[in-house]
């Protein structure tokens, strides 16, 4: 591990298609750019059609360790896809930073139970990725209900977007909704994420003062 900074262990959870994987990938790459050793772990076993699998080599080439299947290893068998990789189960025992891309919803969040040491790891933070353009998490009330179902949540990520139609305004709207959800739940908003071009327009902080993380999109090319 490098320097004086403490180990970072973050699990990204959230609603189906909330952008967990994209946020997790960008976080892992961001930490790697700071020279930190990072392991990115695919724990999506609920409905892994958009997965880290096709990106494994691309991401590894950028200097992070990726624990994920490769499509050829699980394809061709019919209904496969929900098989937990043995190595991934022990991911928290690895040195350095660990970023976990967890499957969707409540059942996805419970995937953390399968990780050795998840209950006791002092560094683990569970971050809930929210896109208010997803109807299940579209309002403050919906988000509060959702947080309750999810069990452990240590922080919120505003990943509000509409795919290619995303605007600064909808991201800021997400920031406002999440700030209110944070106030009422007592769970802080850790960051707002936005694609690089829009992040530049917003600046280092969103309208409610949350730090803005610029992200690059990898997932559109990561189908099955």
């Amino acid at each position: 591990m490098t320097g004086d900074s403490a180990r970072i262990v973050e699990a990204y959870t959230g609603e189906y298609a909330s952008g967990k994987s994209e946020v997790a990938i960008n976080r892992a790459l961001g930490l790697a750019r700071e020279g930190r050793p990072v392991t990115l772990v695919d724990l999506d076993i609920v409905e892994p059609c958009y997965t880290l699998r096709p990106l494994k080599k691309t991401l590894a080439a950028k200097g992070i360790t990726v624990l994920a299947w490769e499509t050829g290893q699980v394809g061709g068998l019919g209904e496969t896809g929900n098989i937990l990789r043995a190595e991934n189960r022990w991911a928290l025992k690895r040195p350095g930073d660990v970023v976990l891309d967890v499957g969707y919803g409540v059942e996805g969040a419970k995937t953390l139970n399968l990780l050795e040491g998840a209950g006791t790891d002092p560094d683990l933070r569970v971050l809930l990725v929210i896109n208010i353009a997803r109807p299940m998490t579209g309002s403050v009330e919906d988000i509060l209900v959702y947080i309750k179902q999810m069990g452990r949540v240590d922080g919120l990520i505003n990943n509000t977007h509409l795919g290619d139609e995303t605007s600064v305004e909808i991201i800021q709207q997400g920031a406002r909704v999440l700030a209110e959800a944070a106030r009422r739940s007592g769970i802080p908003v850790v960051a707002t994420t936005a694609v690089r071009e829009l992040a530049a327009l917003i600046g280092p902080k969103d309208c409610r003062g949350h730090p803005v993380r610029a992200i690059d999109r990898y997932m559109p090319g990561a189908f099955w």
Partner: protein
């Protein structure tokens, strides 16, 4: 009992295709879903089971797809808007209830998320369930099949499917695929009433008020007949009805076809790639057109024949070995258009592949 509106007004949202179907079924006032697990349709059930109790709707997970299909028919007979969703081998099993729906004019609605075949194949994607969905079962294909290409269409046509089924009383299908099921994109969800879309109300076949045989004739449905003539008369009558409504049901999209030397024909998600390819080819000066049947049953035959009548060549692009092409050949019978294949059974097709093939043909 008044139902809470699942969607107030309009909302721009970001969703997966399966989720879109669940919301659209709510918006269409669907009452009950019957289903059995099969990839890639599972999240239609997952979202329906999460949402349904909030809006007073029901769900039953049956023991298999035969049962899911027949319980759906039972729901329809009781006058509820019942639907199901399946794929691949499940669609195969469901052909039995679907043929009963044809025989008795029962407005069942099924969402088909095509996967690779034959047999269990892959869970991923294909357009290999076209023949089965349009013409499957023992029967005459008296069905309505909408082949969608975008999430907006999944929403619009799921609502439309319930309306068409209950208006025309033919089994109605939304033919999607694994890509559409899992892809995420933005769309506008809406309360149909606010767009002026009237929801066709269901009507019970069984359990109407009054004593059967006393206050009203008993409702007795049959699907077996003693004599050839009896059956013939019934089927002829149904076929007449089907032919009558076909022109108003049939839908298509056509672009740049008037002066085209080559028309790319595709349906469903492949039509997206085809349209992108055609636009790019036009920009490069190629006289290429685009034709997409939205309904595969009934086929937009008149428009197809018009295009086939003035175009020398069709390039038929589909993720199957000519299942769309067979429908087109029947629909355009007698036209001299040459039909060239871009068949990729169980594989996606990119705009680049369509462009390359078109350039090869045009020289």
């Amino acid at each position: 009992m008044p139902k809470d509106k699942p969607i107030e007004g309009e909302k721009r949202v970001f969703m997966t295709g399966n989720e879109v179907v669940a919301w659209a079924a709510l918006a269409a006032d669907a009452d009950i879903m019957f289903g059995y697990p099969i990839t890639p349709q599972n999240e239609i059930m997952h979202y329906w089971t999460r949402l349904a109790p909030k809006f007073g709707r029901d769900f039953l997970q049956t023991e298999d797809e035969l049962s899911a299909g027949f319980t759906t028919l039972g729901g329809v007979l009781a006058g509820r808007k019942a639907f199901t969703a399946t794929a691949g081998p499940g669609n195969t099993l469901m052909q039995e209830p679907m043929s009963m729906a044809e025989a008795m004019r029962l407005p069942m609605v099924a969402i088909i998320t095509q996967r690779g075949g034959p047999s269990t194949g892959t869970v991923i994607y294909s357009q290999q369930e076209v023949t089965m969905t349009t013409l499957g079962g023992n029967g005459e294909g008296m069905r309505i099949v909408y082949s969608t290409a975008t999430h907006q269409e999944l929403f619009d046509y799921t609502i439309k499917a319930f309306n068409a089924a209950w208006k025309y009383r033919f089994p109605t299908f939304v033919l999607g695929d694994g890509y559409q099921s899992k892809m995420r994109e933005s769309l506008t969800i809406y309360d149909p009433a606010e767009r002026g879309i009237a929801i066709v109300p269901p009507e019970p076949y069984f359990g109407k008020p009054g004593v059967p045989g006393v206050d009203r004739p008993p409702s007795q449905l049959r699907n077996t007949y003693n004599m050839e003539e009896e059956l013939y008369e019934v089927v002829e009558h149904y076929l007449e009805d089907y032919a009558k409504v076909a022109p108003e049901v049939a839908e298509y999209h056509a672009h740049y076809v008037d002066d085209a030397d080559l028309v790319v024909v595709a349906h469903g998600v492949v039509a997206r790639a085809a349209l992108m390819a055609v636009k790019e080819l036009r920009e490069d000066g190629y006289k290429v057109g685009y034709f997409r049947p939205v309904t595969l049953r009934p086929l937009p035959e008149k428009e197809l024949r018009e295009v086939a009548g003035r175009t020398k060549k069709f390039l038929v692009a589909e993720s199957a070995n000519g299942q769309l092409a067979r429908l087109l050949k029947e629909g355009a019978y007698g036209c001299t258009t040459e039909m060239l294949p871009l068949f990729r059974p169980g594989m996606g097709i990119t705009p680049e592949e369509v462009i390359a093939e078109a350039k090869k043909i045009l020289g």
